[in-house]
């Protein structure tokens, strides 16, 4: 037997394109977040409330990732923000190449903030760097309070946790304190927001924090 020593990261191709994306974002002074969660936790609703808050004061562009349909891009198009839909046709995550390609059809003039809404999936998107400044993970109260323990990678890789649907707390089997503590055991440096897209509670706290980071 002869042995060839390789020592190469399996996802090095993705990481290389992600570095290219990141360099482009930094050149344009563009703050980029990668919004991740399980399906149905309210990523698109948070995005809508965020666009309402910025109300063209800060120009925001959106990349929508979905397995099928452009329903989410249609929802976002109402807010007069540049939006491009990536349909992965079964793919479980966005990768840096898909984002790089999508950037080609996005008008970024004047845009300060780019929000990438990933495919709803708490597993695979955590492995793929897109070139973003940070991952923002959304966990909703209807999913229960043990999600961070079940999907630790995603919570480890995120910088921000948005606990969404807090208006439903009286009706669901979820303790806000347990959810928060579980997340902080996995990632003690997580910045946590608690929101409801229905009552708009917590939206201005999240948005003003995001605005500060965008202007940094």
């Amino acid at each position: 037997m002869s042995v060839i020593t390789v020592e190469r990261k399996v996802l090095e191709k993705n990481d290389e394109i992600a570095r290219r994306n990141r360099a482009m974002f930094s050149e344009r002074h563009l703050f980029v977040i990668n919004l991740v969660s399980s399906p149905g936790s309210g990523k698109t609703s948070i995005l809508e409330r965020t666009l309402e808050y910025f109300n063209k004061r800060v120009k925001v562009a959106v990349i929508e990732g979905d397995v099928q349909t452009d329903f989410d891009a249609q929802r976002i198009a109402r807010y007069d923000a540049p939006v491009v839909q990536i349909v992965t046709n079964g793919g479980c995550h966005l990768d840096a190449k898909l984002v790089e390609d999508a950037l080609g059809s996005l008008d970024l003039s004047g845009v300060k903030l780019l929000i990438i809404e990933n495919v709803g999936n708490l597993v695979c998107p955590s492995n793929y760097d897109l070139g973003e400044a940070m991952k923002v993970v959304v966990a909703s109260t209807t999913e229960g309070d043990d999600k961070p323990l079940k999907y630790p990678s995603m919570f480890q890789n995120a910088s921000v946790l948005i606990i969404n649907k807090i208006d439903l707390l009286p009706y669901v089997n979820c303790s806000l304190e347990t959810l928060r503590n579980n997340a902080l055991k996995i990632n003690p440096s997580l910045k946590v927001f608690e929101t409801s897209c229905t009552t708009k509670s917590g939206i201005s706290e999240w948005c003003s924090w995001l605005e500060q980071n965008t202007n940094r």
């Binding site: 037997m1 042995v3 020592e7």
Partner: protein, 120 residues
């Protein structure tokens, strides 16, 4: 479930690392796999054999080195391991910790069968 694309990346790396006329001699591809690499070894193994079948790599298989999730506490400097992803120090409760390992997904070595072994 992105093991199929991960397996494809591994095939690409092998093809780039081994001369074309020796690809059929590849027997073992060693892969470092961290507890939180995000891929399942059995599933990756299955995907690799599915895409390498009927290619020069048909006789190759994956061999995994499992790497534990290890964290160092910046407060008490102790190192601890766990397979649940906790990053708070179990000794002193410190929250300022650094991940030392457990995220690996890396091809480390490729083993080939030599000419003389084949003729035996």
């Amino acid at each position: 479930m992105h093991e199929l694309s991960v397996a494809q990346n591994i095939c690409d790396i092998v093809q780039q690392s081994v001369p074309k006329n020796e690809l059929a001699d590849v027997r073992i591809v060693r892969v470092k796999l961290g507890t939180f690499s995000g891929v399942v070894a059995d599933s990756l193994d299955f995907c690799f054999s599915a895409i390498s079948a009927e290619t020069p790599l048909a006789k190759a298989h994956l061999e995994f080195e499992h790497i534990p999730f290890a964290v160092r506490c910046n407060h008490c400097q102790k190192t601890f391991e766990n397979d649940i992803g906790f990053m708070v120090c179990p000794e002193c409760g410190g929250a300022e910790t650094v991940i030392l390992s457990g995220r690996e997904l890396q091809v480390t070595e490729i083993e080939l069968e030599n000419e003389e072994e084949k003729t035996i």
